[in-house]
Symmetry: C2
Subunit: 339 residues, 2 copies
Amino acid sequence: MKLLITGGGGFLGARLARTLLARGTLDGQRIERMVLTDIAPPPADLVADPRVEARTGALLTQTEALKTEAFDGVFHLASAVSGECEADFDLGLRSNLDSTRALLDALRANVNAGGKVTRFVFSSSVAVFGPDPAVPFPKLVADDTLPTPQTSYGTQKLICEHLIADYTRKGYLDGRAARLMTVTVRPGKPNGAASSFFSGIIREPLAGVESICPVSPDVSHPMASPTRTVEGLIAVYEATREAFVGRTALNLPGLNVRVADMLDALEEVAGPKVRALVRFERDERVAGIVANWPSGATAVRAGKLGLHPHDNFADIIRLYIEDCKAQPNANQTLKGLSL
Amino acid sequence: MKLLITGGGGFLGARLARTLLARGTLDGQRIERMVLTDIAPPPADLVADPRVEARTGALLTQTEALKTEAFDGVFHLASAVSGECEADFDLGLRSNLDSTRALLDALRANVNAGGKVTRFVFSSSVAVFGPDPAVPFPKLVADDTLPTPQTSYGTQKLICEHLIADYTRKGYLDGRAARLMTVTVRPGKPNGAASSFFSGIIREPLAGVESICPVSPDVSHPMASPTRTVEGLIAVYEATREAFVGRTALNLPGLNVRVADMLDALEEVAGPKVRALVRFERDERVAGIVANWPSGATAVRAGKLGLHPHDNFADIIRLYIEDCKAQPNANQTLKGLSL
């Protein structure tokens, strides 16, 4: 089979690619070819795999050619992140809305030319939810909570969910939208996402570096490890249409934790000196965005697919530490553990 | 003030224009100029009004010029209808999604150039609602029912609702989306809307012509007269932001009636011979679309703006008859009354 992963050079995309290549199969089919598109090239280990073809450049510049290229499956992860979309409205529209539309139309062109219907997993986001004065906003957002997004990023994700549902209804693709919870702990450097600090307050102290938390310790949010998030995307791909149920998006599982709980878990795993590296300094821009995010989520439909959140945040931190230990730069990324 | 009505040559748009011109003011401001855009020219009485400027052609060809033209208010009614959008996917995307996006971006360009924030009323539709197996579908759809549209038309309307909410949040316009119920009784000829028969089964018999009902007499649906629909659009325009509440769309009021109730009302108003002109002959295409529509709606937020549905369908028929009597061709449109 031939797969396309958009955003395949990014953290989650590369991780998904690596997981799939290691499995060798998806939905019972052998993975023969995997195209990774992204604005930056994917990591070297992926490029070195003979099954992988990397295509570097904005997705929107690549979709015209995709009109005559057949794929068995697509994981559409490419996206500008929430902070970027708030700062640059046009960027968000182009990267998140126009690019998705063009990708969907390329797959539709394949079908209209007699080609196969591609299975399509879309990484939507818990950011589709937000409080609007006209409607009740539940403590925990569910699969069927009314999304009233309070960011451009969330709006664009929601719009894509509905485009994908309609293209699926028309038979132009076999689309499934899965709402990712905030993925923590992300390795590397902070990115433009307003949620970036959720990883930073764990990752930086573990590396022996001070981290600033821009929101109150009482802020609560649904979190998922990169491992469980990738598992979720694959399970949604492999689900039958009947098991997925309907065409509306589902929530992937998240552990609902407060920032204070995350720091308690950090202390449990890495000790009080590491925890002490987190300093609270309110950032109104970030706090304002996060204030409109749900404090927790449920994932009943994902549960029926066998997907569940972690039991506690310490487990998520331990998974991150294991990941770091497998990397050559572990002496840097885990420098804080020797404090 | 200067207003733009897109779809201003259509039935509802022309009726809205006529109502506003007769009032002379909107939200306390004198209407000095009214631009009507549509693919066909507006009726002669509107063209003859010195305040009116008609611009004929697809909206998408007109939006570039709108980037440097200021409007105090816009009523965005232009739309391809549900049946057309199911038959021609590209037409729906172009007419309902791309055109709205281009119009919003034109208004945003005005704001970015230092111009004023335009008040913007969007005619969304009860067609945003539909049953998806993954979520409960209530007997009556409310303002805050989760929309899971089952037509491209409904999908595109819902997407526009969310675009408008986000452009409003960003300060690019003052947008309000109002979901129209099925407008009945429309004069003239059947159109491509799947809901067209709801008017046809009243209008044709009143004109002494046989009408075919393509769905079962048990089909129930929320209906509103053209008069109340136009009143609703104007009230939504004139509402303060605080009275509108939030940025999510609201339902305009509709009377929830079954086809059988409509025909009972027709008999009450026009007698059994007129009713007998309606023949049931199932059309699978239309029945399939309508089966996915809600059987009724509530409109709590609109009620708080002073908007209410008619008490009974006979009143809606009587309003239609009054409208016909005011027209020179009443002897044709009401020919059935002499049966």
